[in-house]
Symmetry: C2
Subunit: 342 residues, 2 copies
């Protein structure tokens, strides 16, 4: 087989994405140009951010065009290199596409040569040691200015980023509360990830009161992955001069034409809060140190990893739709079913 | 006359305040206790923030109780002092009350001994050299991190704080656009205060488009005094990593039970914005330097001052209601009608 299997965007998405929004094509394997590298993708990172590029409108990146291959971070191996700094067998993390083979270069977004740690599964480099983990680490440190003894709340706490936020904050000596959508996830973040408490937003009723019951003095850092009603409730649970790390707003991604209204912004003035948004690529220089610290904690068993692995390129659309519906726990990723003759 | 005329809160305010919400009483002149000072108030600063204390609910300060005297910053002279650091004749800025005579101490909120500059009207110390001017200065520098060459937008731009924000930003080498509610105010901020442009939100239609027409590359700093639909529109006009200085949200003060919904918060993530709220008393240590710089600019004629002066304690409620209805331009203040025998 010498075809490049690709998942394309067949129809623009409004509302919930379904597998029917995606297409499947086989193309010739591309040739890297001058200074470029050909990657054999091994893992696709499924991330809510991808949802934002499926509507045909710019969303901090260019939209994915109709019949264009879906964009997303991948981990893969170099199989041909026209850049003398990289050679066959090198493992690369990069914003590539959902396909067997991608062409990229050192100029590509998020491009990074990995030094996989002995005994650490390579798949971890799309999750806890990839964008999810480093986003959690950079967000808590560069945006949240985390300090020992603080109270940290994170939403989507059983997810790829949220589960890392909670565990990193715990390692930094903070009290950690996670907001999740089911009792199963609530148990998971306490029992497996060592959170100090959990709030199930589907059963808690008044989310502010539920968080305040676990953090009577209020919250120093809220790491927000969801926006919407949970962000609105958290504005009422912050300490004076608290910080809200705005990482994502998944509650609005399937309703971009009708985003959830936020009505408690007065608290930003009254409590002197800081809300700060960030995208990982802006802090690219902080990623290697984050990765090194995370790899150390993971290797030592201090941070536990949960993966939701789907095998096979063809199943990527279905797996992505499951992620966006809140059905997955831990890092959602696709393991590419290799097709090369042995 | 040896009575203390006082304006009280007669009824809690919901919606628009009217003079009927306020009462008037005469009480004995209070006696300062140990370490305290008796002030003869000369000017009351009328400020939108006072609206937040009239509802009977805590709003970063305790609410003003029914039949309690209305709280607000004043400038006055010491007429009796039990604190050896202050003596008769000293001029004091402090969070006092709407009354002839207030008792305060060095521990009181915003307490500051003024050194009135020769030739500068004392009334300026409740406005451009008081809370309004120093709020503008501290907000732009400590929260906005203002730099020469930036594009700065301010709302309520013809008001006490807004007119100072624009002029300070101009002095810092920035391009300045003001958002106002009438063509008269638009002309005023350009002709009198030297703004580079103005947008009348009542006639502009699409506020984002109107601002972008004047700032095609987007806005570095938005100094927000109003919240609501204008904040919502400005979220779409910011540059990547722009900063929003959250100083006030007057559009919601008369509708606290039903605040304007904000629907564009996704831009905080996508554009990596920072929204930061602040209250002046937190930055009290920055006030003297701000005041010195502002006094220098005002004395040199670099910054122009507009005052809306109402004479007479009894007219304070009416003057405050006018401020809250957007009818005033420049700094709204009450000049106390002195009652002492000459």
């Amino acid at each position: 087989m010498n075809q490049n299997r690709q998942i394309t965007l067949l129809r623009h998405v409004q509302g919930n994405p379904t597998p029917e929004h995606f297409g499947y094509v086989e193309s010739p394997i591309p040739e890297p140009g001058e200074g470029e590298i050909l990657i054999r993708n091994l893992y696709f990172s499924l991330e809510p951010a991808i949802r934002g590029w499926l509507e045909g409108k710019a969303n901090y990146f260019e939209p994915i065009p109709l019949n264009g291959v879906v964009r997303g971070p991948t981990v893969g191996r170099v199989i041909k290199s026209n850049d003398p700094a990289y050679r066959e067998g090198d493992v690369i993390f990069c914003m590539n596409q959902w396909e067997d083979y991608s062409v990229c270069s050192v100029e590509s977004i998020l491009f990074e040569k990995l030094n996989p740690k002995e005994g650490v599964p390579l798949s971890y480099y799309v999750g806890p040691l990839g964008g999810s983990g480093t986003t959690a680490y950079v967000g808590l440190h560069e945006i949240g200015h985390i300090k020992a003894g603080q109270t940290v709340v994170v939403s989507a706490a059983a997810g790829a980023t949220g589960s890392m936020v909670g565990q990193i904050a715990r390692m930094r000596g903070c009290r950690v509360i996670g907001i999740v959508g089911s009792d199963e996830k609530a148990n998971m973040i306490v029992d497996e990830f060592g959170f100090d408490g959990a709030v199930n937003y589907n059963t808690a009723g008044d989310i502010t009161a539920a968080v305040m019951a676990l953090a009577p003095e209020g919250v120093d850092i809220y790491f927000d992955n969801v926006g919407g009603p949970i962000l609105n409730a958290m504005l009422l649970a912050m300490k004076v001069q608290g910080r809200i790390v705005c990482c994502g707003m998944i509650s609005d991604y399937n309703r971009t034409e009708n985003p959830n209204p936020i009505t408690n912004l007065w608290e930003v003035v009254a409590r002197q809060l800081t809300l700060q948004g960030f995208l990982l690529f802006t802090y690219h220089d902080k990623v290697p140190a984050a990765q090194a610290q995370l790899a150390e904690w993971i290797a030592a068993g201090d941070i536990r990893v949960a993966e939701h692995i789907t095998r096979g390129i063809a199943k990527a659309p279905q797996a992505f739709c499951e992620l966006m519906s809140g059905k997955t726990k831990g890092k959602a990723l696709v393991e590419v079913d290799l097709t090369e003759e042995a």
